[in-house]
């Protein structure tokens, strides 16, 4: 099962960054995100997998598809970089990937011997809002303020700028 998910992730990642049709690239990205949720299920972090499915697959990809439909024609083929830039980018990223893989290969990780903490939805929810030593109430609050600020900022940025002018005319 892991190898199937890993193959899905790699193939659809490559398709996402190479597909000439932008809407197809968005759908390939959706497959990558769903496979990632599958890996979280495999690791038995079910709450995280559910969040991944709802926020990423349900929220961000839908947002991206809407913005694609707003800004370009479906049949339009995207402009990609010239072959020279493509080859240089492939060389740079290939070298980076090789270096990172070598570093990972030469490092020996010592697997933990401690028993695993249960990570059911109840445990996750309790830890998320508890203020004790193992609680995560502060990052939770910081992220909620960040989300609020981002939503207000997105609304203000995307609003039409000539709203004020029409209001002034009416006055």
């Amino acid at each position: 099962m892991f190898f199937f998910l890993a193959l899905m992730i790699l193939v659809f990642s490559v398709l996402t960054v190479t597909s000439r049709k932008i809407l197809r690239a968005a759908v390939y990205l959706l497959f990558v995100l769903i496979s990632t949720a599958g890996i979280y299920f495999l690791l038995e972090y079910t709450f995280l997998a559910a969040v991944q499915l709802t926020v990423y697959a349900g929220g961000i990809v839908v947002l991206i598809i809407f913005s694609i439909l707003l800004t370009s024609h479906i049949s339009e083929r995207t402009v990609v970089a010239g072959w020279k830039q493509g080859i240089l980018s492939a060389l740079a990223t290939g070298a980076g990937a090789l270096f990172t893989l070598l570093t990972i290969y030469r490092f020996t990780f010592t697997p933990a011997s401690a028993p695993a903490n249960p990570s059911t939805v109840t445990d996750v929810g309790t830890a998320l809002v508890s203020t004790t030593r193992d609680g995560f109430a502060l990052p939770f609050e910081v992220v909620s303020v960040l989300l609020l600020a981002a939503m207000i900022g997105a609304i203000i940025v995307a609003r039409r700028e000539n709203d004020n002018k029409t209001e002034n005319k009416q006055n």
Binding site: V17, Y45, V55
Partner: protein, 105 residues
């Protein structure tokens, strides 16, 4: 469910996914596809956090919560980024990076 699968396999997958995302960021010319490459990069980092949590420190949940927070930040980033892209499209009638050469028109 992950017996017999070493930690290295997950790290290889996330490393390759990370560099595929960087390759897309370098070669794409469309703002939305560049945003999609950034989502790939964030996702591969999330896999790393979760796998380290599961294999090396299973008694804690730090990596799990870090991934949750990264997902929330990614959602905020996508919302603001797409708002900016739509604003750019309104001004330039295009979202190709080559044609967007002014901050204000």
């Amino acid at each position: 469910m992950t017996e017999g699968i070493p930690l290295y396999y997950f790290l290889v997958v996330s490393t390759l996914m990370f560099f595929i995302g960087i390759f897309g960021f370098l070669t794409r010319k469309n703002l939305i596809t560049m945003l999609m490459s950034i989502e790939l990069i964030l996702n591969s980092v999330n896999i790393n956090f979760v796998v380290f949590n599961k294999y090396l420190y299973p008694q804690n949940l730090q990596g799990h919560f870090f991934s949750l927070i990264v997902i929330a930040v990614a959602a905020a980033e996508a919302a603001v980024g797409i708002a900016i892209i739509i604003n750019i499209y309104r001004n330039f009638r295009s979202i190709e990076v080559d044609r967007v050469d002014q901050m204000k028109n």
